[in-house]
């Protein structure tokens, strides 16, 4: 037999199989964490929200209806957990992302190029944090997770047309954020290689990394 489906695992969990939910966690933790990270913009909040999402799914497992894909149901819980987390944190300060949080794979061949990609991805993440929550959720689901509009509509519990509208407006807001990002010096990335790229990259490269890039090595943390 092939691997059990998510729905079968959840059913096993409800029958008392204590390993089943752990398997679901292993399958989905990266995407759930990814949703939370992109929604919240920093690792601490993202971990809290992702954990809360799984615990919430655990508590509500018996309410899951077979008509929904488990993943769709779980993403909705994750989006809600991230939204709650954003409300909960009283602070408006944003903990700067570390380069790894931008999800940039480390290339083996060209460290120069890598430096530039890190700066740009971090910049985009920072800009993403600046757009309205409603738009950000739609952009995260459709543009980053690449969910079909129809599935994002189920996750967000709005009509498909609304999802599209939010994605479009989110992209516009993101474009505005990237354009107006203050041009601070980028310490972690070489600047000279940028002009060789196309206009798209050049636009992004004008924006800088968020502040405190030189304090990434949190001496007291981890």
């Amino acid at each position: 037999m092939s691997e059990p489906t998510d729905e079968e695992l959840l059913a096993s969990h409800l029958r008392g199989d204590r390993r089943a939910f752990g398997q679901l966690v292993s399958r989905h933790e990266r995407r759930v964490y990814g949703i939370c990270l992109r929604m919240l913009g920093n690792r601490e909040d993202a971990q809290d929200a992702a954990q809360e999402a799984f615990l919430s799914a655990l508590r509500r497992a018996s309410t899951f209806r077979q008509a929904a894909a488990f993943s769709t149901w779980l993403y909705r819980i994750a989006v809600n957990a991230a939204t709650d987390q954003a409300r909960r944190r009283a602070r408006t300060r944003t903990v700067p992302l570390e380069p790894d949080d931008a999800g940039v794979p480390v290339p083996a061949h060209d460290p120069t190029d890598h430096g530039e990609v890190v700066a740009t991805a971090v910049t985009v993440q920072a800009a993403l944090a600046g757009i309205p929550d409603e738009f950000r959720a739609a952009v995260v689901l459709c543009d980053l997770l690449r969910l079909p509009y129809a599935e994002a509509a189920v996750v967000l519990e709005v009509p498909v047309g609304t999802v599209k509208s939010r994605v479009f407006r989110g992209r516009l807001a993101l474009a505005d954020e990237l354009r107006t990002e203050p041009a601070e010096p980028v310490k972690a990335a070489p600047l000279d290689a940028r002009s060789v790229h196309g206009p798209g990259t050049a636009t992004l490269a004008r924006a800088s990394e968020p502040v405190e890039t030189d304090e990434r090595h949190h001496p007291s943390k981890e």
Partner: protein
């Protein structure tokens, strides 16, 4: 000189999601308006930037902490199965995949209806099947209409556990006509498999050849009817893996057509096909 298109319309145009006649008007406007062309260029930059945000790695130790937290909250001592827990879960005791299949179709076809309501003008302009097919595919043999393909080439692929039944589609469609909203709390779709990389797929890619082959086969089956391919369902048909293409009919957005290809092989004609009503009331 007409007014500038609004920004959301420019975003829809940039995404290839604008229907005629707005698509043509917008293109014509962009050719002569630097300000709007800049908005589109910025949108492209933004999407280019989003593509850099790949799925992040989990922080060190997070997986373990997560499992430990789940373990703490899990009810009951290990190995025991309470009768209450058993009762909560009646649906697994029977192979209830039928209802899930029906509900999935019910939802996605409703979504097709919504999209087509938006695109009705566009559909009206496509009279002949081959022309429509190329326009919709953005990656067909002609390729001249590439920007028209919604969000690049690939059609969404939905995974459907259990058996697909042609008899169920019309039934589900009739039932669906009561609601234009996605099913509250119980809609069923699954992410397209290619989305798992978290966003590095080239959005402008042409439709994969295997998808295009299915679209072409379906169009051949449809005779003179102009099809607008909507999505695929990977599922079972007569107990064997099959890929179902769901399409709507250009100029008649209320009609959904489906074509079942055994084993996802579109080099052969579909083993089954049919149609139903796709328009939400």
């Amino acid at each position: 000189m007409r007014d500038h298109p609004d920004r959301e319309q420019l975003a829809a145009w940039q995404a290839g999601e604008l229907g005629e006649p707005d698509r043509g008007r917008t293109a014509a406007h962009l050719a002569g308006c630097g300000a709007c062309a800049t908005v589109v260029a910025d949108l492209e930059s933004a999407r280019h930037g989003l593509a850099l945000l790949v799925e992040p790695e989990l922080p060190a130790g997070f997986h373990e902490r997560l499992l430990a937290a789940v373990e703490r909250e899990s009810p009951g001592p290990a190995g025991t199965v309470g009768p209450a827990q058993r009762r909560r879960n009646p649906w697994l005791q029977r192979p209830a995949t039928w209802a899930a299949a029906a509900a999935l179709l019910l939802f996605v076809v409703g979504a097709v209806g919504l999209v087509n309501l938006v695109d009705r003008n566009r559909s009206d302009t496509t009279a002949a099947a081959p022309a429509s097919r190329q326009e919709e595919s953005g990656g067909g043999a002609g390729g001249a209409m590439a920007p028209a393909a919604p969000s690049g080439g690939a059609l969404p692929v939905i995974q459907l556990a259990g058996e697909f039944s042609p008899a169920r589609l019309p039934e589900a469609l009739v039932a669906e006509s009561g609601g234009s909203q996605p099913l509250s709390g119980s809609g069923a779709t699954r992410a397209a498999p290619q989305s798992a990389d978290g966003g590095r797929t080239d959005n402008q890619a042409k439709r994969p050849p295997d998808q295009q082959a299915c679209v072409d086969r379906a169009a051949a089956q449809a005779g003179g009817t102009a099809l607008v391919p909507s999505f695929f369902v990977d599922t079972l048909y007569q107990g064997k893996p099959a890929r179902v293409l769901v399409a709507t009919v250009a100029g008649a957005p209320s009609q959904a057509r489906y074509f079942v290809f055994p084993g996802g092989d579109c080099s052969v004609p579909p083993v089954a096909q049919g149609q139903g009503n796709a328009r939400p009331r």
